[in-house]
């Protein structure tokens, strides 16, 4: 028995439909631009990867929590396209989703003088994430459980990781898992800016430069990506996109803002995932890294790979999607699985956008300019979070034996 991905739906800066996402990923079109969903007058940094439909940013009124709005869309699509309702009773459908901070419509909160209400009075402008997602689960007849993960940049990785473990250990049913995030609002965008991780390059398209010597920080994006995971014994073989073969998760316990420069626990997460998949490091074909474009991320990822793969690190192709779409925080792992599935389906590693100059402190083999065609059976997917969480997933190409 294995845990297989049998459905995948996504909305991201790459596009509105899943097909559009795959096409724009392949074409390498930059998807970070000046923010359109809210007025950024006075902001020194105005770039973000926003969700687009036919090339135009999807605009929502300030009364909408965008991460919930997009999650609702994607759940509809995933349930419909996988015929989920006809295959599993509602109590065997489980929702495990990674997501971000609460949304406040600050403009309405201020204009409607809600700030003058007492702490115990209801407010209309504050949107609590967990209760909204639990309501969505009920509306979509997902009644087997609803678990919400919130560890910043690894929230969706941990959601997928638990989903994988639940099925691996015999939990009956289908699990809808992934992540949904949008911090493209006054408070959340500026809050992230104040954490000091944002790029100083004000040109949106080039603002995030993963692994590049000239990198100065990351740029925010928004997006939702949900997978359907099933036990391979009950899944329709024709629908299998890939297999989740291993998962590892560790904590740096080093600092709240910075990764441990020794990268020991990131390397340990990789080691745990590889052992979980019952493989050895030499069979990993390529690595889809976290690759945020921040100064400290690239050396840490390089050192972790060096500890696991030794000298092979110089010839192990790596990739980051964030140069093209930005950092989607809580949903980044789920959205970046688009790149992993692309690598497995097309047997190629895509070039990382905005990578031009190698960094002597992180001499990774970053694919440039055009896709690298190669046989790919195992992809290692890494992510890390503010606070020191590290996750590693092993995704395997399914072969008909």
């Amino acid at each position: 028995m294995s845990v297989v991905i049998t459905g995948f739906e996504i909305q991201s800066p790459l596009g509105y439909t899943t097909d559009e996402n795959f096409a724009n990923l392949q074409s390498g079109v930059p998807c970070v631009d000046a923010i359109q969903n809210f007025d950024t007058e006075g902001f020194s940094m105005r770039a973000a990867g926003e969700i687009r439909e036919n090339g135009h940013v999807v605009k929502t009124p300030s009364t909408i929590d965008r991460k919930i709005y997009f999650l609702d869309h994607i759940l509809n699509r995933l349930i419909e396209n996988t015929n989920l309702n006809s295959r599993y009773p509602s109590h065997e459908r489980i929702l495990n989703v990674g997501t971000g901070v609460d949304y406040i419509d600050l403009s309405s909160f201020f204009q409607n003088k809600e700030f003058q209400k007492s702490p115990n009075e209801e407010t209309d402008s504050y949107y609590q994430t967990a209760s909204q997602i639990k309501s969505l689960a009920k509306e979509h007849h997902i009644l087997g459980g609803c678990n919400i993960f919130a560890a910043a940049c690894v929230a969706s990785a941990q959601a997928i990781g638990l989903s994988y473990r639940m099925l691996k250990h015999g939990k009956k049913g289908a699990i809808l898992t992934g992540g949904s995030e949008s911090m493209i609002s006054y408070v959340n965008y500026m809050g992230f800016y104040l954490l000091g991780a944002m790029s100083s390059d004000i040109n949106p398209a080039s603002s995030c430069k993963p692994f590049d010597r000239r990198r100065s920080g990351t740029v925010l994006g928004e997006g939702t990506s949900m997978l359907l995971l099933e036990n391979s014994k009950v899944a329709d073989e024709e629908t299998i996109l890939a297999e989740i073969a291993g998962y590892g998760c560790t904590m740096d316990a080093y600092a709240i803002t910075d990764p441990d420069p020794s990268a020991q626990m990131l390397a340990k997460a990789i080691d745990l995932a590889i052992k979980d998949a019952e493989i050895t490091p030499d069979v990993i074909d390529c690595v889809h890294l976290h690759g945020t474009g921040t100064l400290k991320n690239a050396p840490a990822e390089y050192l972790a790979l060096r500890q696991v793969f030794g000298d092979r690190v110089s010839e192990l192709p790596v990739y980051s999607m964030k140069g093209q779409i930005g950092h989607l925080i809580a949903s980044c792992t789920a959205v970046e699985l688009l790149g992993v599935i692309h690598s497995i389906q097309n047997q190629e590693v895509l070039p990382t956008l905005n990578f031009e100059e190698s960094d002597p402190e992180a001499p990774l083999y970053v694919v440039r300019e055009k896709p690298l065609s190669m046989p790919i059976k195992y992809v290692l997917k890494l992510n890390s979070a503010f606070g020191g969480h590290n996750t590693a997933l092993i995704i395997k190409k399914q072969t008909k034996d």
């Binding site: 901070v101 459980g145 993960f149 910043a152 691996k168 250990h169 104040l194 998760c249 979070a385 020191g388």
Partner: protein, 201 residues
């Protein structure tokens, strides 16, 4: 199985400096973090915690409205209209980086990991009793697991619960498929035989 449950009322001091080793980090702590650090210290009563012990934590819906009330109240002294420029020039200077750290959902679990050197398998959940139990049941490291939950209420009350459990001890837990907030776990009879509580609500 051992467990602990703590409640601190709105005006009640949380004696964090009697327990914490990394005193310089306390300025970043929320009341939820302070309560959690003390509860774990009391749960283990000075015994070392293995660094590879899996640790799963579920935080509550964060009550950050106090912060927004404060900045909007101050901004209302300057302007009656909300605008992007007004936000940047008047509200943003009121937001300190420390405040941002306090608003991150994983603050408490990360500071607990730093304080006690917890480097193993982990997850941070939001208001999810079921997810917390499943995470502990399917932890990849053998041996006992630390689970915990905290909740900060709008009036300033903070509540937390922690348990050191073996995965088999929770595999029949009645809240395994519950959509309740995880803090409810520590108020159920399942854990109550071992509960040490300072207040009853």
């Amino acid at each position: 199985m051992r467990s602990i449950h703590r409640i601190y009322l709105p005006d009640e001091d949380i004696p964090i400096y009697d327990y914490v080793k990394n005193r310089k980090l306390v300025k970043y702590y929320t009341r939820e973090t302070m309560a959690a650090v003390i509860a774990v210290s009391q749960l283990f009563e000075g015994h070392p915690i293995p660094s590879d012990m899996p640790f799963f934590y579920s935080t509550g819906e964060t009550e950050t409205l106090d912060f927004y009330r404060k900045i909007c109240s101050e901004y209302s002294q300057i302007s009656e209209e909300f605008s992007s420029l007004g936000f940047i020039e008047n509200i943003v200077p009121m937001i300190s980086p420390i405040q941002q750290f306090k608003m991150m959902r994983n603050t408490t679990s990360c500071f607990l990991s730093i304080e006690y050197g917890l480097k193993g398998d982990n997850a941070l959940l939001l208001a999810s009793a079921s997810g917390l139990l499943y995470s502990a049941m399917f932890a990849e490291t053998k041996g006992s697991v630390l689970i915990g939950s905290g909740k900060l209420y709008a009036d300033g009350t903070v509540e937390c619960g922690f348990a050191e459990v073996l995965p088999y001890e929770i595999e029949n837990h009645p809240m395994l498929n519950s959509t309740d907030d995880a803090i409810a776990l520590f108020k159920t009879p399942y854990f109550s035989d071992n509960v040490s509580s300072n207040h009853r609500i």
